[in-house]
């Protein structure tokens, strides 16, 4: 029904107020605004009808709530082992409930050393291949259960949340400023995007005006971060196919951009830059111009790299028609960001629900239709070029004035902040109590949405394609696990 109205599922926010409140958040296209569907439960009740048969994108949200709040979604096909791993946690622990003290360590079951994944495929010759959580060199922790028949991977189940740090819980009771520190550390490669979403939520609650200079500089930095993320994603794809020179070329550009971030803002991952009402430091016009000029140099090198890759047939063979996701699947699973756009689902928060002045800037949201690995690679290149364009436009004409509103005066209330993070839509819901103390912090990330749909791409392809398909999805376990 919601998809008929062209609304996309954003996420589920559960709050334990005087009664349970479940908030299903949907967003429309340009001009269509937001739709919040609320349902309430008595404090002692714990059963809710599942919506995931109608809104498949809500599947993992319901599983997460079941695990962390102890609510049961009736009719959901698969609850159980998800965020809290069954082999370590006792039944019935619900850490997100207010009665649970998140500052204390929890006594666990004696970890089951012999925990084994469940095998589902029963065909003759079926083989279950467990990989991770420590695998390859320098990767985030995730465990894969690949079920193969012969060469082909028939079923892919990622087991995530090894990097679950309980960020939503540890934010409760802390001051709003400290939530910025947490938001920056959800996923370092999207640190500024997440901190911006938190800022916008708090600014909405406290009716703060952000000065025009700060709004423009936020876009400048956010696009800078997107460019760096996309360069790293391109590097990952080249590396996964064994194209060492191309990977090295991209990694040089990534390091150049990390250094440039540090010169511009003091930190290679832009930590400590965002704050309520603006930015913590002014980036002066000459610094912005210099940075924009360097970014254009990076862009030139990047397009040379793209040209060379587009004529390297052995490289293209590994990507074309591999890891295919159709537009229908991408829509149903609620995929976001460049991954969704590579399948022709053109969702982008900067256009759908513009913030920080994106509606006053000219740029395009490119999309492809093939939905294969090569389409995703092209998306990263094309979006990087758009980011460079935005950086140039904004950098040339940053309005004068302050970069920070006067001291924030906190008020109680709740609001949603959203951004188009490098990997896609990120939604942050914050409820503040008295004096800027956080009562609830809900983090909805693009990696959570895209991990949910990753198996669509990886199933029914050859085993050798698996690492390449994984690289083209540019997923972050840190951003997923939180």
């Amino acid at each position: 029904m919601f998809s008929d109205l062209h609304y996309s599922f954003g996420g589920l926010v559960v709050e334990q107020l005087t009664r349970w409140e479940l908030r299903y958040v949907f967003y429309g296209g340009p001009g269509a605004g937001w739709l919040h569907v609320l349902t309430h439960l008595a404090p002692s009740d714990y059963r809710v009808p599942s919506v995931s048969r109608l809104v498949h994108a809500a599947d993992w949200h319901e599983r997460e709530v079941e695990d962390l709040f102890g609510l049961v979604f009736e009719g959901h096909p698969r609850l159980g082992d998800f965020v809290l791993h069954d082999d370590a946690w006792h039944e019935g622990v619900a850490p997100m409930r207010k009665s649970f003290d998140g500052r204390q360590p929890v006594t666990h079951r004696a970890p089951d050393q012999n925990w084994k994944p469940r095998q589902i495929v029963e065909e003759a010759g079926a083989f279950l291949m467990p990989i991770g959580p420590i695998y390859a060199t320098a990767t985030g922790p995730v465990h894969f259960q690949l079920e193969t028949v012969g060469e082909d991977v028939i079923r892919v189940q990622p087991r995530l949340f090894y990097a679950y740090r309980g960020l939503e819980k540890i934010a409760e009771g802390r001051r709003a400023e400290d939530v910025l520190l947490i938001a920056e550390r959800i996923s370092a490669t999207s640190a500024f995007a997440h901190s911006l979403a938190v800022c916008q939520a708090v600014e909405r609650i406290c009716h703060m005006e952000v000065p025009p200079r700060a709004r423009a500089l936020r876009i400048f930095v956010a696009e800078f971060e997107r460019l760096r993320h996309h360069v790293a994603a391109i590097e990952g794809i080249c590396e996964s196919t064994g194209l060492a020179v191309a990977a090295a070329q991209a990694s040089i550009l990534e390091e150049d951009l990390l250094r440039l971030s540090c010169v511009l803002t003091g930190h290679r991952y832009l930590f400590g830059l965002g704050t309520f009402g603006g930015l913590t430091i002014n980036l002066d016009d000459s610094a912005c111009n210099r940075a924009a000029a360097q970014v254009r140099e990076v862009a030139e090198k990047l397009s040379r790299l793209e040209r060379m890759l587009s004529i390297s047939s052995s490289f293209l063979d590994r990507l074309e028609e591999v890891g295919h996701v159709s537009a229908g699947e991408a829509g149903d699973f609620g995929l976001v960001g460049p991954i969704a756009r590579a399948s022709g689902v053109s969702r982008d928060m900067r256009k759908a629900q513009p913030y920080s002045g994106y509606d006053q800037i000219e740029f395009e949201v490119p999309h492809e239709s093939e939905g294969d690995g090569y389409a995703r690679l092209r998306m990263f290149f094309r979006e990087a070029a758009q980011s460079v364009r935005i950086i140039s436009t904004v950098g040339q004409a940053v309005p004068g004035g302050q970069v920070r509103a006067p001291e924030v005066s906190f008020r109680p209330g709740a609001a949603l902040g959203w951004v188009e993070a490098p990997r896609g839509a990120a939604l942050h819901w914050i409820r503040l109590g008295e004096d800027g103390v956080v009562d609830r912090y809900r983090i909805i990330t693009p990696s959570f949405a895209n991990w949910h749909g990753f198996r669509l791409a990886a199933e029914n392809f050859a085993f050798q394609d698996f690492p390449i398909i994984l690289a083209t999805f540019a997923l972050s376990v840190h951003e997923n696990d939180r």
């Binding site: 791993h85 370590a88 850490p95 649970f100 998140g102 500052r103 204390q104 360590p105 666990h108 970890p111 050393q113 959580p133 420590i134 695998y135 060199t137 320098a138 990767t139 985030g140 922790p141 949340f161 090894y162 990097a163 679950y164 740090r165 309980g166 960020l167 819980k169 540890i170 400290d178 520190l181 550390r185 959800i186 996923s187 370092a188 490669t189 640190a191 194209l243 020179v245 191309a246 090295a248 990694s251 040089i252 990534e254 390091e255 990390l258 250094r259 540090c262 003091g266 290679r268 991952y269 930590f271 400590g272 704050t275 913590t280 060379m308 390297s312 052995s314 972050s476 840190h478 696990d481």
Partner: protein
């Protein structure tokens, strides 16, 4: 494929000269705050600003416990009396775990050390900085450091991230599977003390809660050269730095 060979050659040598010479390029490190002599009131207000308990009140001013600093810049931005800031990167220190004879490396490890990287729950920053060590700027292969995906080949266990409950078993198994002698290098504020994630229902704090740590590299994240310094300290090719910087130090610089 020949175009790639030519492209590679055209790029020329990018690698830093560190550790033979100091690296001075801009943007290689976020730097760290320095201890300062300050009036009591100012010192108190700065200590209160630090969200990571990295600043301590000293008789004559403020001491910095670099082990805990998360580069939030609150002691230098938005205040009228900022602390000093230095752009060093040699931050790694040796800790007591390293005195164990069985754990010392012999000369066989001078030019070939294999490293297993385990992420026990970080935000991806430390992990990404470790990855940069393979890029042509840092090219750690030239120093005989190689990443390996398997504990059986690893001499050094490099741990990033706070210790989450879910990573306890995999980390223990990886460590036990490594042949002796072996060393543990903890990288980043979270691996040292839990960092911003702290101790909670999910995080036990740093990796030292589970394994004996030999070398600590502070920073959030430590830049690639700080991690490289940590590896060089682990194999005894560089002297360690000292982490607690006090106003009473005659030289406020421990980066050596």
């Amino acid at each position: 494929m020949s175009q790639w060979v030519i492209k590679g050659l055209r790029t020329g040598v990018k690698s830093t000269r560190y550790p033979r010479a100091e690296e001075t390029a801009a943007g290689i490190s976020p730097g760290l705050p320095t201890a300062a002599t300050l009036p009591l009131e100012v010192a108190q207000s700065l200590v209160a600003r630090c969200p990571a308990d990295a600043l301590e009140l000293a008789p004559a001013g403020v001491d910095v416990n670099l082990r805990r600093c998360i580069h939030c810049f609150r002691c230098v931005r938005g205040t009228n009396s900022p602390l000093g800031w230095e752009h060093s990167y040699e931050w790694a220190t040796a800790v007591s775990g390293g005195n164990d004879q069985k754990r010392q490396f012999g000369p066989a490890f001078d030019r070939s050390v294999h490293i297993l990287v385990v992420d026990t729950g970080d935000c991806g920053a430390c992990l990404n900085e470790v990855r940069q060590l393979n890029n042509p700027y840092y090219n750690m292969h030239r120093l005989g450091f190689f990443l390996t995906p398997t504990p059986r080949h690893a001499d050094v266990l490099l741990v990033v991230g706070a210790l989450t409950d879910h990573m306890r078993v995999p980390l223990r198994k990886a460590y036990d599977a490594m042949p002796s002698p072996k060393r543990v290098v903890a990288v980043g504020a979270c691996a040292l003390s839990g960092g911003i994630f702290g101790r909670s229902f999910m995080c036990a704090g740093g990796v030292a809660e589970l394994l004996p740590v030999d070398v600590e590299v502070p920073g959030d994240p430590p830049p690639p050269l700080a991690i490289l310094h940590g590896l060089l300290v682990a194999v005894g090719r560089k002297p360690p730095a000292r982490l607690h910087r006090a106003v009473s130090d005659s030289v406020g610089n421990a980066s050596g």
